[in-house]
Symmetry: C2
Subunit: 139 residues, 2 copies
DNA sequence: GTTAAAATGCAAGTGCTTATCATGAGCAAT
DNA sequence: ATTGCTCATGATAAGCACTTGCATTTTAAC
């Protein structure tokens, strides 16, 4: 499938695998998690390629990078939306709160140019509440 | 001055220096920046101590850690407020938008417990707009 | 099929941060 | 003021999360 028609990227076996693996998940995995997932399936990819591919696809606007505590995470949904981060396992979930376009109009101060905003909620996710102690890093 | 009355931390020369240096600034510096600042003043502190102190003071609630792109930054203001991050230099500024307590009441989904939220605006700061290209990392 | 440009894999390198551990400093009770 | 217990510091090594250099494939266009 020609997903990369608009981009100057080549549609290689590894890039297909990585993007597909990302789209299967809703927990916004890290590069390392994606890498292990693919290896577990017997696919041959290197960690460097996973990183390079994710960064490249983000530059092309095919996915979104999430920065914050711990390793970067990746979100296949590029539409404007907000996130929840579990402070126990680090997993990130989408939040169904309507996007507030008006917040991009905020006047931060003289000379400041605002290009975007993001809202992140923190707390404990259902998976971690379930576990007795809830201090895993399994996500 | 007995700032640490409520905590079990010892009020050492280094901790005084580090907290004072942090409170003098409004750009939410990194550990490294604070370290260089103190060295430039001829004060003897090790980088490890700067890191340890900042983390310790954060645990005690005397300052706040900011995570995101690049190295962690530290904010001497622990009251609820929002931030702006310059995507050119990385500096972080406080934003004078009233804190929305109602956003902590958001229902993320069944089984989710929300403990806090944060809003971060991104864009270019006045310092970087001034510079012709505006691609420094001077912050 | 050739071919030029781009992607991959491996391994080494970098940046940020924490761990280790011997030494030194704060604090409370002598 | 001194002692003694405990915590803090400094120097350096180690660790994690990436990133980069480079030789070797692959891809996409002729």
């Amino acid at each position: 499938m020609q997903v990369l028609i608009m981009s100057n990227l080549r549609w290689t076996r590894q890039r297909k695998l990585i993007l597909d693996a990302l789209k299967e998940r809703t927990d916004h995995p890290t590069a390392e998690q994606l890498y292990h997932e693919l290896r577990a399936r017997g696919q041959s990819v290197s960690l460097a390629t996973v990183y390079r591919t994710l960064r490249a696809l983000a530059r092309e606007g095919l996915l979104r990078e999430l920065h914050g505590h711990g390793p970067d995470r990746f979100d296949p949904d590029t539409s404007p939306h907000y996130h929840f981060r579990c402070r126990s396992c680090g997993r990130v979930y989408d939040v169904a709160v309507p996007y507030r376009t008006d917040l991009d109009q905020v006047q931060v101060g003289p000379g400041f140019v605002v290009t975007s905003h993001e809202i992140t909620w923190e707390g404990i996710c259902p998976a971690c509440r379930g576990e007795g102690s809830g201090h895993g890093k399994s996500g």
